[in-house]
């Protein structure tokens, strides 16, 4: 009886700990990560809005995947050199992660899905009630991204210098 009670406590504590460790990791990326700005374009003109989130493609300024090599489906890294405020970050190197240059400290890990590089940053959630005011990714849209040890967390979408929600509210008026 005592063993089953102890096991029940462990069965409750460990998953809760793992869950909050995950949240802590994401918070760490947001707090300690280097902030980058990257240009985005529409993902699919026919279905840009799905449910409560906006899907888009990040425009890295250079093709990162050729779509021909099986090795590209492995971990791919993209190195950035931060630029001035309100300017998109520049890609300085891209390729297989173990071959990453030593001076590349700001980088994003991802994977090539044929010709598309994905790094888990291609989605932005916002309330569906605003969907009617946003039927396309605006032309000068960028994402504000926090990058830490290859992991990226999207903080906001900017349209010019305006955060997305303010842009939508402006459109509503």
């Amino acid at each position: 009886m005592k063993n089953s009670s102890t096991f029940a406590k462990i069965a409750i504590i460990i998953p809760v700990f793992l869950m909050f460790a995950w949240v802590a990791q994401l918070s760490l990326i947001t707090a300690l990560g280097t902030q980058l700005q990257l240009k985005i374009t529409g993902y699919d003109p026919r279905n840009l809005l799905s449910g409560h989130y906006l899907r888009y493609q990040v425009d890295y300024g250079t093709p990162l995947c050729t779509g021909g090599s099986a090795a590209e489906r492995e971990q791919q890294c993209v190195c950035f050199s931060p630029t001035k405020t309100n300017e998109p970050a520049q890609v300085t190197w891209h390729g297989y992660c173990p071959n990453k240059p030593k001076d590349c400290t700001v980088y994003l890990q991802g994977q090539c899905d044929y010709r598309t590089f994905t790094a888990g940053i291609e989605r932005y959630y916002f309330p569906e009630i605003w969907a009617q005011y946003l039927n396309n990714v605006p032309k000068n849209a960028t994402i504000l991204l926090n990058v830490f040890q290859g992991r990226g967390v999207v903080e906001n979408i900017l349209v010019g210098t305006q955060p997305l929600m303010e842009y939508i509210k402006t459109k509503q008026e």
């Binding site: 096991f7 409750i12 949240v23 994401l26 959630y125 309330p127």
Partner: protein
């Protein structure tokens, strides 16, 4: 009436026990028996309540700050865990329901965190993470509901992972059907005779291969229905429907093959049970009435209830407890169906879902408490 009643009656006839002992055994079993259907239905209610809470939060997304959302989620998640630990008893419906909500709540939490941090990625990753989180609570559970959910999620995760690995978008439906086949057959093997049997051991009466086969068929049927439903849910798609029926029958026969060691003279009986279960499952889509005017709906509902009342009566006359339980269970589900038909799209709101969940749990409990009274009345009037 039930298998136990038959056995007890046989023992009394052979003077192995006397009538007083027989009655004492029956009273004890009646008091301590576990009704797994009640747990399963309670599980549906729990999911509805959870979904309702999440929906309420999502509807007011703009007004709640991320830190507050995370804090509320943490309170709920830890709260359900503590409630499970503090609830007395070993295997009560309340205790197991709390553990179920706690475990399934991680899925809601992952969805919430993904929205706050705008995460994206292949579907198999959050499912795999949930499998890790849910593993220990599933082992701690005293019922099999979580184990079945965990195993099913494992197969779905493998399916999505393989699809992602091989980029098999074009082969999507063939892969789904193939994995459903393999999954259902493997489940039967694991549950009954395979290496996972000690861990995934079924309750005693489920050791019977007949019920094992029926469960495998139902699981397969449900999985194929859910995954290919949009393609067969057309009034004119008779070929699709027949294919769907054939798939379920073929896999059920495969399941029978895996259990052949346990089957002796009961093969014909097993096939009868199999086709009964498949037939009843095919009847279940009629649980909800078609979109017709109120008088037509009333006639439809009364007709549906009459048919299932008749099935319950057949169960009593044939001495089949399972058939009686199933028929009364379907009748209970119909009342829940009336709620959904009346409320319409309001059931998709947060509050509607929470009310639905509470209603489902209440109906499940009422069904469990009062079906014996109905059984006694039917036996008396037979």
């Amino acid at each position: 009436m039930s298998r136990l009643h038959t056995k007890i009656h046989t023992w009394v006839q052979h003077n192995l026990i006397n009538a007083h002992q027989a009655q004492a055994i029956l009273d004890y079993e009646a008091k301590h028996s576990t009704n797994y259907a009640r747990f399963a239905v309670a599980g549906i209610g729990i999911i509805a309540i959870l979904t309702g809470f999440i929906s309420l939060i999502a509807a007011n997304w703009d007004f709640i700050r991320p830190a507050h959302k995370l804090f509320c989620y943490a309170l709920l998640q830890i709260g359900f865990g503590l409630a499970y630990l503090k609830t007395p008893g070993q295997r009560t419906l309340l205790k197991e329901s709390l553990l179920c909500v706690f475990t399934l709540g991680f899925l809601g939490g992952m969805g919430l965190i993904s929205q706050i941090y705008h995460l994206s990625g292949p579907v198999w990753r959050p499912l795999a993470f949930w499998l890790v989180l849910a593993f220990l609570p599933t082992l701690a559970s005293r019922t099999r509901l979580l184990a079945h959910i965990w195993i099913l999620t494992l197969f779905v995760t493998i399916l999505y992972f393989l699809s992602h690995l091989f980029n098999a978008n074009l082969l999507w439906h063939a892969a789904i059907i193939a994995c459903s086949f393999v999954g259902a057959v493997f489940m039967v093997y694991s549950f009954g005779v395979g290496p996972c049997a000690p861990w995934l051991r079924l309750p005693e009466h489920f050791v019977q291969p007949l019920l094992r086969i029926s469960c495998a068929t139902l699981v397969l049927f449900s999985s194929v229905w859910l995954l290919v439903g949009p393609y067969v849910n057309k009034a004119t798609d008779t070929n699709g429907y027949l294919f769907f029926f054939a798939v379920a029958t073929v896999v059920a026969l495969l399941s029978t093959y895996w259990s052949h060691r346990a089957l002796t003279r009961a093969l014909k009986r097993a096939l009868c049970y199999l086709f009964t279960i498949v037939f009843i499952f095919l009847m279940l889509p009629f649980l909800w009435s078609p979109s017709i005017e109120w008088l037509g709906t009333l006639v439809y509902t009364l007709g549906f209830l009459s048919i299932w009342f008749f099935v319950a009566k057949i169960g009593v006359l044939r001495g089949s407890q399972g058939l009686f339980n199933l028929a009364t269970f379907v009748i209970a589900l119909r009342f829940i169906g009336v709620y959904f038909e009346t409320m319409g799209s309001l059931t998709q709101t947060g509050l509607g879902l929470i009310v639905s969940g509470v209603l489902i749990i209440l109906v499940a409990d009422l069904w469990h408490r009062h079906r014996r009274h109905l059984l006694k009345w039917m036996q008396h009037s037979s």
